[in-house]
């Protein structure tokens, strides 16, 4: 084979391979929609009212039937009770994706006490609000992750403290 012909053949092979890879990637992207997460409400005030109206989460793009964990990402410098500094997030809620890959979840009272209000617990299992160290005000990232698919979606939630009146 002449050098020019060989080069032409090589170029066409690379082009075909590139098109094939592109098609595969496109197909994959079509098969697995990007995971999404929404938080409601997007702004919360740390008070007992949260127990009546807990933060809730909706997501999509997960594997049907899989469990989804929602973690609060811990910003540098923020201390969460009993969570070692090496851990970058803490689980605050969980749900299960339906046949469409969508889930709904809300924070349980225990999670609100533990991670938002950061109370201590009495030996009788009651929350001790006198020893609470509420999460500092700020905008926090929440990350939903599929237990099997590893699909990840993020959203933010602003945390505020009650104003003194």
């Amino acid at each position: 084979m002449k050098p020019l012909a060989a080069r032409k053949e090589l170029v066409s092979m690379v082009a075909v391979a590139a098109i094939w890879v592109g098609l595969q990637m496109g197909a994959a992207a079509q098969q697995a929609p990007k995971a999404q997460l929404t938080v409601s409400p997007q702004r919360i005030t740390l008070s007992a009212q949260l127990l009546k109206e807990p933060p809730s989460f909706k997501g999509s793009g997960f594997k049907p039937g899989e469990s989804v964990t929602i973690d609060l990402v811990i910003p540098k410098g923020v201390k969460i009770k009993t969570v070692p500094e090496a851990e970058s997030s803490v689980g605050v809620a969980f749900g299960k994706a339906n046949e469409k890959g969508e889930f709904e979840a809300k924070m349980a009272p225990t999670a609100i006490f533990n991670w938002l209000l950061q109370v201590d617990w009495t030996t009788e299992g009651k929350p001790d609000l006198t020893k609470a160290t509420p999460l500092p005000p700020g905008v926090y990232e929440l990350r939903a992750a599929g237990m099997e698919s590893d699909a990840v979606a993020t959203a933010t939630m602003e945390v505020t403290h009650p104003t003194n009146q």
């Binding site: 469990s67 964990t69 929602i70 973690d71 009770k81 009993t82 997030s89 803490v90 689980g91 605050v92 809620a93 969980f94 924070m107 349980a108 225990t110 999670a111 533990n114 991670w115 201590d120 617990w121 030996t123 009788e124 299992g125 009651k126 992750a145 237990m147 099997e148």
Partner: protein, 404 residues
């Protein structure tokens, strides 16, 4: 030529040494992850249990590991929060060195059962009978909740007959409103019926309930002779406090499941818990405090008087003994370098009959059993102490009586 021959000899010797000596075993480390509720309503049982396991693992490593394999102990305080536990489980499931996980939450166990599917891994759990009904990854610490309840019903009937009373006893049931609180009746109810015992409608209450008068009043009005209590101490002690104040302990015999008062609780509230009977799968009272292995581990790693020990500590030691024996079996089978979750899972099923030096009954794990043991003892709270009132008793199979 002489020099080449010398170096050749050295090379061969080195090769032989590297091949024959278990050089890599010394560097192998496996991890046990404990997802523990060190804070919250079940901390009273989980803190001492976790301490016992941690100390026993320290002891394993102090002796050079299990046949050279060291064990890393990682503990997460899940604060009675399934979301935190599930997220931590997801994290540690990815780490190859993690060969087994201990959990305390009954709802978490039920979720993980679904998540794990056919994946093999040892996960130790408190006493949910569902894991005996559907054999898989979950190994209970002792007899299941329903088996212990059934053994208590046997005791009730014997006690009733010993008193020469006619007819059948009426038994009330007072428990946390949780999957754990409901578990003893899944098979236990059928066992009580089989014995001819009248079981009153169960009363459930949320953990953290300050007063139990309303539930106790209903049970008293229904004419209970005995009441079975299923919640974690100090909740049973608080129930007894309320029952004593209502004058019920004079006419009703209260029995606690195995998470009832330990010596520390009995000593703190002796009047409240007086006469309560506890069905236990681990040694309690002075039997635990004077046990040679428990004493040695406690004094070596806690350096406090044994009177400060909660007896669940001994049970944590048993978790460590199980791990040590299973690791030894696995290493014997495949070698230190080929340890895996599945290999350890197989080894746990070969611990059948293993002695835990009397802290628990013999191990009952097998290919067809996920029960940590199938034996219990009975204790009675008397004058601020826990006195043994029986030898080890085989528990009935109440799991088989439920339609799963």
């Amino acid at each position: 030529m002489r020099i080449r021959g010398f170096w050749g000899l050295i090379s061969v010797a080195l090769w032989v040494a590297c091949t024959l000596l278990p050089a890599r075993a010394a560097s192998v480390e496996v991890t046990w992850v404990e997802l523990a509720d060190l804070t919250g309503p079940v901390a009273g049982l989980d803190v001492p249990g976790t301490m016992g396991l941690e100390d026993y693992i320290k002891d394993i490593n102090a002796k050079g590991g299990v046949d050279g394999v060291r064990v890393k102990f990682t503990c997460v305080d899940t604060r009675y929060d399934v979301a935190r536990a599930l997220s931590s489980f997801k994290r540690y499931r990815r780490e190859d060195s993690v060969l087994a996980i201990g959990i305390v939450s009954t709802p978490l166990g039920k979720m993980l059962k679904e998540i794990m599917g056919k994946e093999k891994m040892v996960i130790t759990v408190p006493g949910d009978g569902e894991f005996q009904a559907h054999i898989g990854n979950f190994f209970t610490w002792g007899p299941t909740y329903q088996d212990a309840f059934a053994a208590a019903m046997d005791w009730v009937l014997q006690d009733w007959q010993k008193q020469g009373r006619a007819g059948s006893p009426l038994v009330g049931y007072l428990a946390w409103d949780s999957p754990y609180g409901k578990e003893p009746l899944r098979g236990g109810k059928q066992y009580a019926e089989k014995l001819g015992i009248g079981l009153l409608p169960p009363e459930f209450f949320p953990s953290g309930t300050p007063k139990h008068d309303v539930y106790l009043s209903r049970i008293e009005a229904a004419g209970a002779n005995y009441v079975y209590v299923a919640c974690v101490d100090p909740a049973p002690t608080n129930i007894m406090r309320d029952a004593t104040a209502m004058g019920l302990t004079k006419k009703i015999q209260f029995i606690s499941d195995y998470w009832g008062p330990t010596t520390l609780g009995v000593g703190t509230h002796p009047d409240a818990v007086e006469r309560m009977v506890i069905v236990s799968f681990f040694l309690r009272g002075e039997e635990a405090q004077s046990h040679p292995l428990i004493k040695r581990i406690w004094s070596t790693y806690r350096k406090e008087p044994i009177e400060k020990m909660n007896e669940m500590y001994g049970n944590g030691i048993v978790w460590g003994m199980n791990l040590e024996a299973a690791l030894r079996d696995a290493i014997k089978g495949v070698g230190a370098n080929k340890l895996s979750r599945e290999i350890l899972y197989e080894s746990y099923q070969r611990l059948t009959g293993m002695s835990r030096e009397g802290i628990n009954g013999p191990c009952a794990y097998s290919q067809t059993s996920r029960r940590g043991s199938d034996q219990v003892r009975f204790y009675r709270c008397m004058n601020g102490k826990l006195l043994s009132i029986s030898d080890w008793v085989k528990t009935p199979d109440a799991v088989a009586l439920h339609s799963w």
